[in-house]
Symmetry: C2
Subunit: 259 residues, 2 copies
């Protein structure tokens, strides 16, 4: 279905009432027809989860002035699937996800509902960007993030990127170091070091809260973590072919006895 | 903590009572000390979800004879994190996940709780394998899958693979085509074409069931989907650095005006 204006699908993982998605809608609404499909409750840390054992609910949501918006009972990935197949029934020109309240650089791309929603759109052949601001606060300052979102969305729409283009964009927190602009980076090799907080409930049974600290074990340069620390917005192009070519070639040689 | 025998962590996403994890325990129990940490309920399609907004429960489970086993209220990734940090408090030598009831080849690696559990272990520096059998049935024939699991686990333990080695292993369904052995492959470029089934509940409100059909859009050779169709077990080495180097280099050139 051809449209006069580009169609931009907006989603997130913090839920449809989060300030971050409002900031994103404001950032891109001048660039085309905007349709919002987002979870009806927070879905942080959902990764690429899909809802297969339960039914999904989908309702129109009167949350943004003059913008078509829908809320869904499922995960961020469910939202993108429903948007594509039930609400739009055609491919949008761009999908933007976020603006997430908190970082999704380095290994966080794996755990992030924000990035998984964007990845789902890219798998579907819709160029896509996930935005995250390094500020967890509800009243975080989204002004730089909005400018970045508008700049990158404009670029993606103007340049007709390959269908499966997917960008992981993180914006530094305002006021920590002077802002330096946008930088293309690679994913830092990092991990979360869990520290489970064991407690006992009023009935005497144990339970655990997952907490943890971030460990950057990357000694190289040009990573997203490094760029953010220097005051840059990091842009990491992401792919969903996870084949490890190097190990593949090695096993084809070394494991001949079992192949 | 040094052990005499290698320590093998076993997990899955179908839950601790699924026949597939029992088959996997049987396959590897002669190779070292086996510890099972698995979800207390089915967690298929959970992807790399982690539980951050709710507490986790963890209980000893007397499910396997002479094998230490724990069940957890969380996702497959939560199980691996708890195993590493609360139960073992040292790194196991190998993690095996599955045997999943159903395929996890091609793009399914992204949605699969089985593969996400294995990936979490690999991120943590534990060589890891996810096993899936192309048979959804509860009473599926796991005999070939068990042989494959034992062969590959033996190989991984003997060869001291690099810490972050991760394999996605799919075993063909018994009796469809003659079994041909093990083949190292790449991830096929495929996707799910959703078809949402819209229904109306007894109160007159709409809901949707996610259904879909698998679409292989890969025209090339040496894919996991191709190998499985020919009767091979497919082994795809997987990585969790998702950086798309090709797009990275292109954007560094093409987007100079905004960098």
């Amino acid at each position: 279905m051809a449209m006069d204006k580009p169609v931009i699908l907006v989603t997130n993982d913090d839920g449809i009432t989060a300030p971050g998605i409002r900031a994103l809608v404001e950032a891109v609404k001048g660039l085309g027809k905007v349709v919002v499909v987002a979870p009806d409750s927070p879905q942080s840390g959902m990764g690429h989860a899909v809802t297969i054992g339960e039914p999904l609910r989908l309702h129109k949501a009167d949350v943004f002035e003059d913008i078509e918006a829908w809320e869904c009972s499922g995960t961020p990935v469910d939202c993108v699937k429903l948007a594509r197949d039930v609400i739009l029934s055609y491919k949008p020109d761009l999908c933007v996800s976020g603006i997430n309240h908190g970082a999704n650089h380095s290994i966080n791309v794996i755990y992030s509902g924000t990035m998984s929603a964007a990845m789902e759109a890219a798998i579907e052949g819709v160029p896509s960007i996930g935005f995250s601001l390094l500020d967890y606060r509800y009243d975080a300052d989204f002004s730089t993030a909005k400018e970045v979102a508008r700049t990158l969305a404009t670029k993606m729409l103007a340049q007709r990127m390959p269908d499966h283009t997917l960008l992981n964009v993180n914006i530094p927190k305002t006021g920590v170091v002077p802002y330096k602009g946008i930088k293309i980076c690679r994913q830092a090799n990092a991990k979360w070091q869990e520290e489970f907080d064991k407690r006992t409930d009023p009935r005497g049974k144990d339970y655990y809260w997952m907490t943890g600290k971030f460990v950057n074990r990357d000694k190289g340069t040009n990573t997203d973590v490094e760029a953010l620390a220097e005051g840059y917005t990091s842009v990491v192009p992401v792919k969903f072919d996870l084949t490890d070519q190097q190990t593949k070639e090695r096993l084809e040689q070394d494991w001949k006895d079992i192949l």
